[in-house]
Every structure is written in C-alpha cells, then in structure tokens.
Symmetry: C2
Amino acid sequence: MSVPRSASNTTTAVSSNHTPLVDPTRFPAVADGEVRAAHRLYEHLIGIWAPGVIEAAQDLGAFAALTEGPATAAALAETLGTDLRATRVLLDGLSAYDVVQRTRGADGQAVYTLPAELHGVFAPDGLYSLAGKIGHDRNVAWSAWRNLARNVRDGARTSDGAEQLNQISEEDYTSLVRGINFWAPPIVRPLAERLRTTGWGTGSGRTLLDVGCGTGIYSHLLLKEFPELSATGLDVGRIVPIAEAQAAQLGVADRFRCVTGDFWNDEWTGDTDLALFVNIFHLQTPESARDLLLKSAKALSDDGVIAIADHIVDEEEGEDSTQNRFFRLFAASMLATGGGDAFTVHDYDQWLSDAGLRRVGLLDTPMHRVLLASHA
Amino acid sequence: MSVPRSASNTTTAVSSNHTPLVDPTRFPAVADGEVRAAHRLYEHLIGIWAPGVIEAAQDLGAFAALTEGPATAAALAETLGTDLRATRVLLDGLSAYDVVQRTRGADGQAVYTLPAELHGVFAPDGLYSLAGKIGHDRNVAWSAWRNLARNVRDGARTSDGAEQLNQISEEDYTSLVRGINFWAPPIVRPLAERLRTTGWGTGSGRTLLDVGCGTGIYSHLLLKEFPELSATGLDVGRIVPIAEAQAAQLGVADRFRCVTGDFWNDEWTGDTDLALFVNIFHLQTPESARDLLLKSAKALSDDGVIAIADHIVDEEEGEDSTQNRFFRLFAASMLATGGGDAFTVHDYDQWLSDAGLRRVGLLDTPMHRVLLASHA
C-alpha cells in the first residue's frame, strides 16, 4: 500500500455546520482591519451560544416532543410546561442554527419542525445519538472549558505532580461512548475499502481485535462489511452488555464477543489479522503509545494490519487542513478535561519503527485520520 | 427616503469567522442523513471550544505577551509561568481558529504570532477592544448559557412574577460598553452616507441626542463625519467620564457633552435633529418601546430623523439572512442573561405609527440593522 493523498483536501472545505452570524458584505470599503478582526473574534466568542440553545432544548425535552410532530411555540410550551415567550425565543434560536425548521402555518403562526434526520440524533437510544455526548458535556465540558486557564498554568497535573487523569468517570464513559457512535460509518467505509483493495479479508477465519471497543460499533460495521470476519472487543466490564446488545441489534452477534481485559497486563490473542484502535492513542502518553504498538506487533499475524483511527496531525498536509485544525482543538479539549494529546504522523512513524512496524496508509475521514501499519 | 433592499443579501454570505471543523468532502457517498446530521450537530456542540481557548489565553496574559512580539511555546510558557506542553496545546488551538499564526522558525520549532490587527482587540484600553466583552462573558455568560433551560421554564421571571432584569451590574455595564465599540464603524458609515444623501446635516447648528450613549462612540464617529454637528449623550453617571475622555481622544470634545439623566422621567431637549438609539430598543418591553418613540417624536425637529441601530428582525428578508439568524440568537442570549428581545420591523412600524412617525429607511450592517424614521 502506498500513502496516497487526495487532491480534494486542497479545495476550500465548506463546513457542514456553516451558520455565519456576521455579514461580511456589509463592511464599508474603508473599514480598518482591527474593526473587521474584532467582528471575527466576537463571532468566535459567541460560539458558546450553540451548545447553550441545543442543550437547553434537550434538557427540556423539546426534541423528544418535536419528534412526535411539528408544533407552534404555544403548543410546545404547553407540552413542556415552559414559558410561552421564552419557548418561542428558544425555538427561533434553534432555527437560526438550522436545528429546527421554522415555517408559517395557515393562521400565520410560526410552526417548528425537527427534521427527520435529527430524530435519532437526540433520542437516548438512537444508534447514532448524541444524547450521551450532550449529557457528558453538561456534566464535564462547561466547567472544564470555563476553567481551561488553570490547566494551562499547571499542565493539568494533580498536586503531587502526576498527570491529571481524564475527568471521565465510568458512568460518564458509558454515556460518552454511546454518544460518539456517529463517527463510525465514515471511518469504517474507507477503511473497509482500503482493506478490500489490498486483498485483506478475502478468505475465511480472519480475526479482528478491537482494543478499547466501547459500544463495538467499529467491529459491528466491519463484521457487516466482511462476512468471513470474526471480532473480539476488549473493554471494561460495564461496557460488555452494551456492546453485546448492539451486536445483536446489528445482526452480527454470532461473530462478535466482548471480553473484559486489562489490555496493559494481559496477553493479546496472537494471530490477529486486524488490530483496531479507535480513539485510544490520543489518551496515551508517548511512552504508553510505544508500548501499545510493541504489544500489537507481537499479536499481529504475518500479513496482519494495524488500524489506528484517531486525531492524527499530518503536518505535511498543511496546518490549515480541516482535520489538522480539529485535531489541534481536540488536544485543547483534552487539556481542558485532563489527559491526552493529538500526536503527529511523525510521532506515530517513530513508534512504529521502534516496534518493527511501518506505516502503509493514511486515510482522511470527516473528523479523524486512519493510520494503517503492518510488519516492516 | 425609500426603503431600498440590496440584492447582495440574497447571495451566500461567507462568514468572516469561517473555521470548518468537519470535512464534508470525506463522507462516503452512501452516508445516511442521520450520520451527516449528527456530525453537523457535534460541530455546533463544540462551539464552546472557541471562547474556551480565547478566554483562557486572555486570562493568562498570552495576548498581551504576544503583542510584544512572536514567541515559541517555550518562551511564552516562561513569560507567563505556565506549563510548557499545555501552553503549546493552547497556542495550537488558537492557531486552529486563526487567532494566532503558526509558522516554523529556523530551528524547526513552531513560532506563534498575534496578527497586528488583533493587538488592539485584546488590549484593555484599545478603542475597539473586546477585553470588556470577554470579562463580561466570564462573569455572566458561561453560567447563564449553561442554565438557559431554567429561564425557558420560568420565562426569566423572578419569584414574584416580575420579568428578571438583565444580569448586568453597573460595573459589568461599564466593562461591556467598552467591549462593544467595534460594532460602531460599520453602523455609522452607512448611516452617515444615508443622512448625507438626503441632505440632512448640511447647515450649521444641527443637534444629535444619543440616548443611552455608552462610551459615546456613535456620537463621536458621527461628529467626525459632520463637522457642523453637536451632540449630547445621555447615560448613567459612571459612564460620563469614559464618554468625555473618549471624545477628547477622538478630537470631538468641543462638540460633545455627556449628561446624566433619567431618560424615562426627564424631558428631552426639544428640536433634536437626530435622535439616536443604539442597542437600546432590544432591552425594552413593547410598552416601553412605544413610550420611547412617543417621547422621541415630541423632541424631534420638523425635519429631524430618528435612527435606531439594533437587532431588528426583518421577516421579509427571509428567515435565513445572516442578520435575522444573529438577531434570533441575540434574543436567546438576552433570555439567558435575563431581559430583552429582538423585535421585528413590523413591531417597530406599529409603534412608529402610534407616535405619529413613519419608517423612512432600513439599512443592513454586519450585525445590526439601522431603522430610520421621521414625522409622518
């Protein structure tokens, strides 16, 4: 495999979330740079408004109510037991972000509709729901981001100098892993295509080891892509029933098992054909990242592949690629909540080399990169 | 004057603050709508990251230090007394939002530069500084937005049913008014052009009454546009020295006076040629807005003009105009902090009519509209 880069990264990406709140066509021709820059900064500062209105609506049950059908502000306020004018303001705010659609009913009153593709996104049990992510943000993110300066001062270290652990309790972790399933489909699809192109996955008895599998969504989607594959997920105990139930839901339970393991101290299954790490490496230190790859190398079959889906900064790609920007900010997010970093392709290449491995591919996805490696 | 609308509003406005964090070119062709929608929502939810990194950097004095000159993460960490790795992560986060520029020095280390046009934006005493806005946000906005649901439930009312006052203390108000001067230049310029087009402002002895003038920036810039004009600003006592100092700084002190007044109970100067209200009406109730216009009508000279710069929703403009979206969200912001609303052109037209006035113009600016009115 080579390391092909797509030309499309050099085109200007238009955000899927493009809601400009400053009209730049309305600056006088003579407006000085400082005034324009201040407007740009102001628009960054009001970024807080988006989670503000969306999370409030979720808290109040507005999305659940709108999943039942479109409503006026008056009808929704009655359903939710909220103030009428305030409910109208909230709904109008959601419409400004295109989270609800605002139309005029026959009597001239505004009617608010939650688009069908968002019904599952706010439902607690939706396969690609963000409900768990929202819950986690409300418990952890607001306070962590408000107080980021503190962690920049002390490096997110505890009083005894140790690196602060990621502020994710086991309960939060359970909630959070169920809230980020939506990342999986646009990661699994190009990964499966690349594996198929190289001839991997043909033949029976292929095995996948999904380290820190969470809900198992990556395993489950890969099992659907490769009917001869069987997968083992490794994670903490309280995750096991979630992952197994989801395997059943997606019709792959007979080829998936989730085992509880201490993946630092236990031996891994030898003869692994695909070792998968999704959002695992960004939680490592450089030392533990190197250890993980040494361990992977030992468990990998001769023509096995290691796939690392993570926030991998590719400096050759230019600092201003969408992925690199997101990864830089994800690192800041980890600094806010304590622990983790976004490593560079260069970092990975060094760790791979130390483990007798080599990089054989790097795939861009909407919010991740997938690094592929095999024995050197 | 007619009410001309520009065609440019119908083109797609590209935000001055356009930092996409999801690469939409990387979705598989078959990606379903729910998965795309979840990515879009996630990007909204992480809007909180922008104020998080920018405010942390301001708190730590990073922008003040970078105004002295470009620095590496190591140099900046030493200056600020912060953790090296965490400082690097913070600077990389700022670069992802184009708040600092990241380049490679001769030795390969990243060097971070604060663009010149942002120096004044973060300086406490800069004419168009956001420092006061940032301070206000840190005191009020995080908690208000985190708890927006509560105000939607009870309509931001106090326990005795009264409408909650805007949570701006006098000290916050002083800080905030100094942090939103940057809005003035692209509002004053088209206003002055329109006044000039109609023949207003030619001749001597023209008078401007700037109701709730804050720092007086709108008066000061108009005085520079119209050398024959003199202006009176009305505001609370602690604002007066700020407004008068700024008038001196901008060379218009001889034609500007700031007076303390209770603009509800005191009579206004008669024979006002321009009555100016900037960001005043959005803090009114419909009743007090109507009263303000009745009072303005009485004080206005025969050919006088009322100019209202505010978040004025123009439903004819289409819900998805940049201005309307911003105004809807500004209303939600006022709901979060208590008090205020974004009224529609239709609302204003009714209040104007009740006061014997009529609308004679509506101008778009980057984040406001300016409504012009005269005697009917």
